[in-house]
């Protein structure tokens, strides 16, 4: 019993510290926005460098969805609905969730490791001693870049999986679903509300992953084990948070 109480106490105190840390970040965001070059650099590091994994994953997931969807739909003579199936699945669910999971694995882990190593090598302390606030100069630009990158990457993922080479390539080119049916079904079923919901999810996931990554990195023990632990925790906690948040957001959006 005392063990459970201890775990609960540690969880709550950790949550409290991370919320306090988030408030510190939010406080300095206006000042960080005055240095856009720092944010642009992080957008490159977190967003641009995540593009390859997002694009390739999008293509393959779109192709697999088209194969699986076609197999089921064709039994009911509804193969022309393949576009709707692929598009709604990607836009509403898989787009934001898979992008966020990949983002946590690719960008979140590197963010946590980078911050952990900066701490272990006293770079953050050195900034403090140079009268430069590391939360304003180092943490906030990375946090903001994560927030911006996630919705953009989600849209790229969706375009790659539904259109260019994913669902369209397999559905239309390989399985010979009529291209007009594929795209008109998508136009008829996907409305702006779906895209809005997708972007909302992507933004919430981007917020969660960025927050978890910078917190884990900033509070890492300043040694090799601490950095390793922070990196692992970022991926594990982010993944669980993404799945839990997705359920809550979906339930809310479906009322």
């Amino acid at each position: 019993m005392s063990g459970a109480v201890k775990v609960l106490t540690e969880f709550l105190s950790g949550l409290g510290r991370s919320v306090f840390f988030l408030l510190q970040i939010l406080r300095v965001i206006p000042a960080s926005l005055l240095r856009p070059q720092l944010i642009v650099r992080q957008l490159y590091m977190l967003g641009q460098l995540s593009m390859i994994i997002i694009v390739i994953s999008g293509i393959f997931i779109g192709m697999v969805l088209a194969l699986q969807g076609y197999r089921t739909l064709v039994r009911f003579g509804a193969s022309e609905s393949l576009g709707v199936f692929v598009a709604l699945t990607i836009i509403r669910e898989l787009g934001p969730v898979v992008t966020a999971l990949l983002f946590a694995g690719r960008a979140g882990s590197s963010l946590a490791a980078e911050l952990g190593l900066m701490k272990a090598t006293d770079q953050l302390s050195a900034m403090e001693m140079m009268a430069v606030d590391p939360i304003e100069r180092v943490i906030a630009p990375r946090f903001i870049a994560g927030l911006i990158a996630m919705p953009l990457l989600t849209m790229i993922f969706a375009v790659m999986s539904i259109g260019v080479a994913g669902g369209h390539a397999v559905g239309v080119e390989l399985l010979k679903v009529d291209a007009g049916s594929y795209w008109s079904a998508i136009r008829g079923s996907v409305d702006l509300g779906d895209i809005r919901d997708s972007l909302v999810k992507a933004s919430v996931f981007g917020f969660a992953v960025s927050w978890i990554a910078v917190y884990q990195g900033y509070t890492a023990a300043p040694n090799a084990e601490g950095v390793s632990r922070a990196t692992t925790s970022t991926v594990v906690v982010s993944s669980l948070a993404i799945l839990a948040l997705d359920f809550m957001l979906t339930a809310f959006m479906f009322n």
């Binding site: 090598t121 302390s125 001693m129 430069v132």
Partner: protein, 277 residues
């Protein structure tokens, strides 16, 4: 003079004054009421075995950590009573050289030294360039300005960090273990630099170290700390001629003495004979 007790010989013109300093990390007591004065314009050494909290003292003086009790005054201002903005203003008057240099790894040598200037000085870029080159010239690394930290040796990284620490012309520079892991040439270069810069720039220097011989060769005054207390203090000669058992053990590098070779443990015979913990 008895170096373990004298305080009256500390010069009156004091830049940093620590009084009744207590500090603990978790259950571990690091400082148990120490008084230290850092004289203005002098090189003061803080000596002591590893793990005695010498680096902690620098972090306390810089206001990064807060003491459990006691005060630290920098030029008459209580460091730990300052708000964030005045504390940051105060830090602009302090430079700190971290043990491993702590250079920002994504910036070149030039950009590292320019960093504090660009952040705080508010001067045109051509002036920044001139000042950075002057600081790099002072540490002999003007030619290395385009290198990245991973391309530097340990000694070079510390010299760049020293150039960065003095880029804002601070009143005081704190050196955290500047000689650890250095080859004899790098060590001699650093010793010469610390002494020369202290004189030519009118700096106050605090050197935290356990490299006794090197530090005493340039220190005007030294404190020996262990077990949370100041166990000896005085000029380099006074420390060398101290009769304190601890100071002698520390100076001569004796494995056993007031600082025991064995970590605190139950009786050896009892443990070998199977007595439970």
């Amino acid at each position: 003079m008895n170096p373990t007790t004298a305080t009256k010989d500390v010069p009156e013109d004091v830049l940093v004054r620590c009084r009744g300093l207590h500090f603990r990390q978790g259950q571990r007591v690091i400082y148990n009421g120490i008084d230290i004065d850092i004289a203005r314009g002098k090189v003061t050494a803080i000596l002591g075995p590893s793990g005695t909290g010498k680096t902690t003292l620098l972090r306390l003086i810089g206001g990064q950590w807060r003491p459990s009790a006691g005060t630290i005054e920098f030029d008459g201002t209580d460091v730990h009573k300052l708000g964030r903005k005045p504390l940051y203003d105060l830090r602009k008057r302090m430079g700190m050289l971290f043990q491993n240099g702590a250079l920002l790894t994504d910036l070149t040598v030039f950009e590292n030294v320019a960093y504090p200037l660009r952040e705080h000085a508010g001067i045109p870029e051509n002036l920044v360039r001139d000042i950075v080159l002057m600081k790099l010239q002072a540490v002999g690394l003007r030619g290395a300005r385009d290198l990245y930290p991973e391309e530097l040796s340990g000694g070079m990284a510390r010299r760049v960090a020293l150039a960065r620490a003095i880029s804002l012309d601070p009143d005081m520079v704190m050196y955290d273990e500047p000689f650890t892991g250095q080859d004899p040439i790098s060590m001699a270069v650093l010793i010469k630099l610390i002494r020369t810069l202290n004189q030519s720039l009118g700096l106050t220097s605090i050197i935290v170290s356990h490299d006794i011989k090197e530090v005493l060769s340039i220190a005007d005054y030294a404190y020996v700390i262990s077990g949370g207390k100041v166990l000896g203090q005085g000029t380099a000669d006074e420390i060398r001629s101290s009769e304190s058992a601890f100071v002698r053990q520390f100076l001569n590098g004796e494995p056993d003495g007031p600082i025991a070779f064995h970590y605190k443990a139950p009786a050896y015979a009892d443990e070998l004979m199977g007595a439970k913990k």
